[in-house]
Symmetry: C3
Subunit: 309 residues, 3 copies
């Protein structure tokens, strides 16, 4: 692992070079071996303190980062906004500078405002990892998704990937589009017209309203979660109707006369965007994504830590 | 510690053999020595990751498990439902499979639904420890309770134990009944008729409505907590009346012409089910129960970890 | 580090000798070196279990203690009242005795009732560190504040320190007054008459209502936070009016014809009690206070641990 990333922060996929992504993948290969050994830890970051600063609720992303950090033997502190001084009127920069004054080396941050980690990166010295900023980017999710495609299909280049569902509210979709394109895949987005942002075709992706056509086209379907908790306005008449028109189920997949790989960032609404017989089938790599998430995040943290030195 | 448990999960006392209980007790004896040494840790589980998955609030049980895990040098991750994807509509099995995909070896779970850990144990490979499932079982509590009786009185066999209070809502009572019977003790339950479940006599226990008669009969009184937070219906007119008719106090114990050991699973409502002069007397082994809880849980985790291998 | 503290608890500054404070400072000097090394940990407390028992919300104090504990290699357990048995009607002493029965060596406690840690110290064996008890004392804050003055100005003795703002609700102010006087500084308090407690002049401090006069007098201004969340009654007409009459800003400081050091315990309400150009200026040592907080708390924990033995 002699190479270095060209950046000291992971703010988004947009600013990441293809070489950086490849380096992260190769490093993740090694860490995936580690976490499947009986002894799952390495001492790599034992002199590093990492703060997980989550201004937005998260379970699986936070758990995945925390496990990655502990398996690298880092010291971990957790800061969440629900019991924080943010409520007392403190600015984001003051909060983070306070944490840094306690000699924290790296900050993993989730924030509801797009650009929050970018703002911070211009003012502080620590490495910053964006763990999701509003509806903007979620770079480690895109890295683990593309890593999982590479693992399943051998390569990402030349593959056709359809991202299906709520593209409008999805930082996962945006980061995946950037990562897939950098790695040479073709990308299509598919969903109800109300859930497709107007700018989306300017990103060089195909747009499809009919989920059957999307599935016929693709090698991989990345089925997004309907994020009920984000929808104050109704973007479609009912969950039942969404499921009827956009739900991916076995009957639909069986009718395609080919096999496609099914992904989902989780948590799944079974019976809404994905039926159980698909989620639990051999074509689904949903739990591989979760496993790879720890390896990819170990790789990101490991590589960033050596840039700062 | 060459022997093995006959089970890879601790789901309840009901399915546990007497030999298994004895093995847990003998192992706990050794760990009780450990936690009373200046160096309270052993490296036994340092390659094991344990997830504490609490879908129901808990303080002392969670703290006790966490300390047991840390003293075995395990890596610990905490997952609680209050900030979890469970609220986002994910199934229990998906949640747990996600945690397992992150290479967790053991799950300590509390859930409000009776049978939840049994359901999981049929679908996953990790060791599961039931830390309380609804009003069903709370096996480690019963193990630490009977371990504390054995420690105080030399043996559990032949002893008379009265469980006093809210039997209806108590997983502690049910698990204690099973454990005491397997170890050869006689068991009586005592409480207001509204708090005694109808099936209770079918378990082979004596039933008594008069607390004085129960105390006259027993060697050990396990006084349960009035769980105000569980009672949406009123099972008795007032706390004052409960205390008058079922509260265990010094005057009552002094009138017995014999000495009995007093237990309580905590937290105590002082002046309700137990008076302070009893709780703080030399006959009460309430804080021993807490101390033994860590040793017994270390024994359970240690023994289960070697079954999986 | 051969010397010992004369106390086994840190309950307040009032009961602390000047020699104890000096010993804490000298020990903190050594730990400040440690946390600025690449390897920020020492194995000093690796056989010690510390419980952080916070009955009141806290972010920065808890984080600072947690980092101090981890850098001393202690085992750390966190107990907060929001998910605790305190809500189930348990007494403070029972809660703490339960935690101690799990073989905890040291308790760092924040509680809303003045005197709560003092009460506990009379009943339990573990070392207790008061992390704030109501409006009474916050000794580690005063230690880190005076340590930061000593670091910036060479010595505390002979310096003039003005504490500005809400003295009435501030345990920081009370503990600072005691620490500054023990170390030979002169102290003035300044704020609206409604926020100055009536007993304050009996503590031997100057009282000033005019913030300009306070600033003209002092070498160091410790600007307190307006704790909006504590004020059920209105002590002043509006934040805007407070800021106009008591806010410390660059224009005011520039007009003094001398340079003063500015401190703030955080979190800052920028534009209320302190303007941004002052908070971010070279005269502000606010982030040094945060950094020193970890070193001072390491010193306190390290020194107390050796008293118990």
């Amino acid at each position: 692992m002699g190479e270095q990333l060209s950046t000291k922060h992971l703010l988004g996929i947009k600013g990441l070079s293809t070489e950086d992504i490849q380096l992260i993948f190769e490093t993740a290969d090694e860490f995936k071996d580690v976490i499947n050994r009986p002894i799952k830890k390495v001492p790599s970051l034992r002199d590093i303190t990492i703060a997980n600063v989550f201004f937005e609720n998260s379970t699986r992303t936070k758990l995945s980062f925390e496990l990655a950090e502990k398996r690298l033997s880092a010291d971990v502190i957790n800061f969440s906004s629900s019991n924080s001084s943010v409520k007392k009127g403190e600015t984001l920069l003051d909060t983070v500078n306070n944490i840094l004054s306690m000699k924290v080396d790296m900050i993993v941050m989730r924030h509801s405002s797009p650009g929050a980690p970018h703002f911070l990166s211009r003012h502080i010295d620590a490495n910053i990892v964006n763990a999701g900023d509003g509806t903007h980017e979620h770079p480690t999710q895109a890295l683990l998704d593309t890593y999982s495609i590479r693992e399943k299909l051998g390569d990402v280049a030349g593959k056709k990937v359809a991202i299906i569902g709520d593209i409008l509210h999805s930082r996962v979709a945006i980061s995946n589009i950037f990562a897939l394109q950098k790695l040479g895949a073709e990308v299509m987005v598919c969903g109800p017209i109300t859930l497709l942002p107007k700018y989306i075709s300017s990103l060089g992706v195909k747009v499809e309203l009919d989920v059957r056509k999307a599935l016929e086209w693709c090698d991989v379907a990345n089925v997004l979660r309907i994020q009920l908790e984000r929808q104050h306005i109704k973007y479609f008449p009912s969950l039942r109707e969404y499921s009827l028109y956009y739900g991916v189920n076995k009957k639909l997949l069986d009718s395609l006369n080919k096999e496609i790989t099914v992904m989902h960032p989780g948590p799944i609404n079974r019976g809404v965007e994905l039926s159980s017989d698909v989620a639990d089938s051999e074509h689904a790599i949903i739990l591989d994504q979760v496993e790879n998430g720890v390896a990819v995040r170990m790789a990101v943290l490991y590589l960033l830590a050596s840039v700062s030195k």
